[in-house]
């Protein structure tokens, strides 16, 4: 690739300016006192069904998801489609569980999941573990959103050397930081509406236009090598991919709403029924994601990898370049610019919400808990705003200074880690039989086992083949780690209860959780 693709860049720039305008207007939308943390960080818990739908859709289906899912399909074939069962089964789970979280949080003014754990189990140490896990899992995720922007800028020929190479990224992030600081959660919520509109247009255009060029869907699937078309079944010498596929889907589905940015989306809604309705409506995005996964299959069939025009991009961005290359080859330049803008704006929304969620955690569960207990009101909100800046520029520095591989590896680990908060948060919504110290020990065991399983694979993959006797069970490391976590939590609770070690005080009451 040589030279800048001007028509694409012009359309891209115009959309970026529009979105920036929307971001700055947002602080005046549904005006509230932005000097209060629940107004800045949860937009006053007033979002109805439609806004919550846009917000969660924009939040969960990130630019990186849109790049990584087809990239995985492009590289690994059918295995990459685990994103489909994953985003299907997560919603029945959310439908049942998250209304309880909303009710208890609304009643007690909880802003983070760690707030809830502190109230439920009366343990600020356990809450700290939950908060730190959330922040650790979120930081590399924010950094990866930047990788998404980098790839599409590269695809339009915007690449310099040294400092200049990162300048567009830095400008984009300074603007993002400014309107998030000013408007809080209102900014990404309003931008999410624009983001969704352009992303639906892009994807629908792609799944119509690309097959027309490649001779229809039947031709596309026929062009896929047999090895990539289906999962490898278990055989005498091969454990196959079934366990990996199902456990990746299940583990990711259970983990999705444990991420701080998902919790922020849930808690900013105006009621239980908003969450339940959204559980039935958010699969519209799952459908979009399935179509995006199919773009990976189309990229295999189209042979873009062998096109010398894209050799430079593939050399630089590897499989992440598959979808940008497909767009460049199938769309006119101006529409490729539109498509790339959808990915870049798709990076800004989650990056903003993630930084808000991480700063809520820091402010509530570290700063206020351990450093300044007397901090309230305006001071609390100010700290959160400043921390959101630190979080964003930390992520930016991470990408500018270090190689993108580190962020990718840390994000894989982040998924393993965040699932280890499941027993305290999700089981905690139903029972407090589990003892606070056993939950803490279980969390530590899960973090250790999960990290070790990913480390022994050189941080490249998260599927760990467990050897039991003569058989091998490959499954998502997060799920193995969760099993270890649960075993320690249950066994430890039985021992501690029998030994008469005191439970923490439960600040919540059964009726605070609503019906079911």
């Amino acid at each position: 690739m040589s030279g800048v693709n001007s028509p694409a860049l012009a359309v891209f720039g115009a959309i970026f300016v529009l979105v920036t305008g929307v971001g700055f207007v947002a602080s005046r939308w549904r005006r509230g006192d932005l000097d209060q943390l629940h107004e800045w960080g949860l937009a006053g818990r007033r979002f109805g069904t439609a806004v919550t739908w846009f917000l969660l859709g924009g939040d969960l289906y990130t630019a990186y998801t849109f790049m990584a899912v087809p990239a995985l399909v492009f590289g690994a074939g059918a295995l990459g489609y685990f994103a489909v069962p994953y985003t299907v089964i997560t919603y029945p789970f959310v439908f049942v569980v998250m209304p309880r979280m909303w009710s208890v949080s609304h009643k007690h003014g909880y802003i983070t999941a760690a707030d809830f754990v502190r109230g439920r189990f009366g343990s600020s140490s356990l809450a700290l573990a939950i908060a730190v896990t959330g922040i650790l899992a979120t930081m590399p995720y924010i950094a990866l959103q930047l990788v998404g922007i980098q790839v599409v800028l590269g695809a339009m020929g915007v690449e310099g050397t040294g400092w200049m190479a990162d300048l567009p990224l830095i400008i984009a992030f300074v603007i993002l930081a400014a309107y998030t600081y000013q408007g809080g959660l209102r900014a990404p919520a309003l931008i999410a509406i624009v983001k969704d509109a352009i992303i639906y247009v892009t994807v629908i255009a792609a799944v119509v236009i690309v097959p027309l060029k490649l001779g229809g869907y039947a031709a596309i699937f026929q062009a896929v090598p047999a090895k990539k078309l289906l999962l490898t079944p278990p055989g005498p010498n091969d454990a196959g991919q079934y366990g990996a596929y199902a456990s990746l889907a299940l583990g990711s589905a259970l983990a999705l709403f444990l991420y701080p940015h998902s919790m922020t989306g849930v808690l900013s809604s105006s009621g239980r029924s908003v969450i339940r309705r959204n559980a039935a409506m958010l699969p519209a995005y799952s459908f979009l994601l399935a179509l995006i996964a199919a773009l990976g299959t189309m990229a295999i069939a189209s042979g873009v990898e062998k096109n010398p025009a894209y050799a430079h991009g593939f050399a630089r961005y590897h499989a992440n370049f598959a979808v940008p290359a497909l767009f460049l080859s199938a769309f006119p330049d101006w529409f490729a610019g539109f498509a790339f803008a959808s990915i870049a704006v798709g990076a800004l929304v989650p990056a903003a919400i993630m930084s808000i969620a991480a700063s809520n955690l820091f402010t509530r569960n570290i700063y206020k808990e351990y450093l300044r207990p007397e901090c309230h009101g305006k001071e609390e909100a100010t700290v959160a705003k400043l921390v959101s800046l630190v979080v964003k520029f930390g992520a930016l520095a991470f990408i500018v200074v270090g190689p993108a591989e580190y962020a990718i590896q840390l994000q894989l680990l982040g998924g393993v880690w965040i699932l280890q908060t499941f027993p305290a948060i999700i089981l905690g919504l139903y029972t407090r039989w589990l003892h606070r110290w056993a939950l803490f020990a279980g969390w530590a065991a899960g973090m250790g086992v999960g990290t070790w399983m990913v480390a022994v694979q050189g941080f490249r993959g998260t599927v760990y083949p467990l050897h039991v006797g003569h058989s091998t069970w490959p499954a998502y490391a997060a799920v193995w780690a969760l099993l270890a976590n649960l075993a320690v939590a249950v066994f430890g609770s039985a021992v501690l209860v029998r030994a008469g070690v005191a439970r923490g005080k439960d600040a919540t009451h059964e009726r605070d959780y609503g019906s079911w």
Binding site: V84, F95, F221, L231, A246, R272, A290, D506, E510
Partner: protein
């Protein structure tokens, strides 16, 4: 020990009936997590292998099930 009290106010379904409705939500888990159900090419739908259209189909089916359960148990959220 946890304190047990009566459930919240408002018109609520009897727990047994609600459990029946909620159990429908297990269907997507069963249909998608047992991979041998669908790791096949045949039957194709307009040239699309079974593996793909079966899973895509579950997106709509699961959303419909969730919507049905929502409407059937809606009374529970009144006043919330």
């Amino acid at each position: 020990m946890p304190v047990r009290t009566v459930r919240s106010v408002g018109p609520t379904l009897r727990p047994a009936r609600r459990a029946v409705w909620y159990s429908l939500l297990l269907a997507p888990f069963a249909g998608l997590l047992w991979v041998p159900f669908y790791n096949r090419v045949q039957p194709e739908l307009a040239g699309i292998p079974y593996f793909y259209w079966y899973q895509f189909g579950w997106i709509g089916v699961s959303a419909a099930i969730t919507a049905i359960v929502y409407f059937a148990t809606r009374g529970d959220d009144e006043g919330k």
